[in-house]
Symmetry: D2
Subunit: 134 residues, 4 copies
Amino acid sequence: MRKRKTFVVEERVRLYDTDAEGVVHYAGYYRFFTDAIENFAYKFLGGYPIPNRNIIFVVVESTAKYHKPAFSGDKLKVEISPTMLSGKAIRFDFKIKKNLAIICDGHIVQVCISKRSWKAVQIPGNIRKVLGGW
Amino acid sequence: MRKRKTFVVEERVRLYDTDAEGVVHYAGYYRFFTDAIENFAYKFLGGYPIPNRNIIFVVVESTAKYHKPAFSGDKLKVEISPTMLSGKAIRFDFKIKKNLAIICDGHIVQVCISKRSWKAVQIPGNIRKVLGGW
Amino acid sequence: MRKRKTFVVEERVRLYDTDAEGVVHYAGYYRFFTDAIENFAYKFLGGYPIPNRNIIFVVVESTAKYHKPAFSGDKLKVEISPTMLSGKAIRFDFKIKKNLAIICDGHIVQVCISKRSWKAVQIPGNIRKVLGGW
Amino acid sequence: MRKRKTFVVEERVRLYDTDAEGVVHYAGYYRFFTDAIENFAYKFLGGYPIPNRNIIFVVVESTAKYHKPAFSGDKLKVEISPTMLSGKAIRFDFKIKKNLAIICDGHIVQVCISKRSWKAVQIPGNIRKVLGGW
C-alpha cells in the first residue's frame, strides 16, 4: 500500500488554549485541526475558504481522541493527510505530536456545496487533481 | 443628575472561560460584554444584529479593567447601560459583579454604518427612541 | 427497551459562534455540548468541575455530525443523555434541535482520573448513583 | 525623544476569527495582542507565562480601537512595544497593520503579583533589565 503523504504544521499551545484544569481544553484541539486545514489550503489550493464564487466547503463531521495532555507553551506538530471520499467530499486526518508521542488524533469531513442551491456538488477539477496526488 | 438605568444579565463562568492560571482569561470578559449587548438587543431592539437591511453596527472601541479574579462556576451579574454618543454612535458601559463586588468594568462603542457605503449614518429613529429612554 | 432520559438546555446562537460563511463554525457546536454538560453537572452532580479534591474528569473523545446550518440569533435546544460506559468512564450523547429538526448530534466521553497519579480510577459512588438513574 | 523599539509578529486571519458580518469579530483582535505578548515573552523573557515559581503576571487593563475591517485570509503585522509603567507593572502597546494601514491599535497592562499573597510585587531584575532596553 502506498504510504500517504502528510503536511506538517507547527503550533505553540497558547495560554488561551488551556483551561483551569491546567491543560489544553478538549475543544481547543479543533483550533489546531482548523489551522492545519487552512495552512494546507493556502499552500496547495489557492486560499481558504477556497476562492471560488460558486461553491463552499462545509464541515459535516469532526472527531478527536485525546491520548495525553498538552500544556501552555508546548510545541506541537500537526500532521494532516487529505483523502477524497467521493467526488464531492474530502476527509482530513490529523495526528498531533508532542516530541514523538501522538497526543491527539482525529478527522474532519468537508463536503463541497453549491452556494446557490446549498446542495452537494462535484469538487472542481483543479482541487481534485491536487488532492488526488496525496 | 438622573440615575442611569441598567439592564442586568446573569452569567455562569464556564471552564472554557478560564486558562491554566486558574482564573478567567482577560479576553473572556468580552464574551460577557457581548452576551449582555446581544441580550439587550433581543429584548429591546428586535434582534441582534439589528434586523435592518441597510445598516449594521460595528464595534470601534472596547476597553476593560480587571479588579478581581473570577473562577470556573462563579455566578456573575453583568450590568449594561447604553448611551447615545451622537446620532450615529452608541456607547455601552458594563459593570460585572460577583456578589456585591465589581470585578471588571469597561465599555464598547458601536457605530451605525451603511451596508452599501460602509460609512457612518444616522441610527434609525426606532432605535434612538428606545435608547433615549435610558 | 427503556427510553433514555434526557436533560434539555436552551441556547441562543451568538454572533461570535458564527464565521464569515454566515453560519455557526463547526467547532462552535462544542460550546453547546460543553454548556450542556456543565449545566447538567451544576444541577445533578454538585458542580463543574466535579467538586472532589482527589479526582477530575478528562475528555478522551469528542465527535459531532452537522446536518443543517444554524444562524446568529437561532434558538436551539440541546438534549444531553449520560451513560456509564464502565465504572471509570461516562459517555454524554447530544442532539441539537432547531425547531423540530436535529441539526447536529455527537458525543463526548469523559474518564475519571486521580489528580495524583493521572490514571483512570473508579467514579465516586454518589455520581454513579445519579448517572445510574438515567 | 528616543524612538521606541518594536517587535513584529505576523498573523493570518483565520475563518474562526471572523463572524457572520464577514469581518474579524472585535474580540478576536485580542487573540492577536495575546499572541504578540506570548511570542515576545518566548523570545526575550524565557517563556510564557514567565517561568518563575513565585510570581505571575495578571492583565489589569485592555483596550482596542478598530479603524478598518480585516477579512479571513488577510495577512497582518502586529507591532508590540513594551514599557515599564512602574517597578510592578508593564504596558504593552500594539499596532496592527494590514499592508501599510493601521487597522487596529490598543494596549494591555500587566501587573506582577505574588502567587502566595496575590498582591503586586516588584518585577524580577532580569525582566526589568530586558524591558528597560526597549
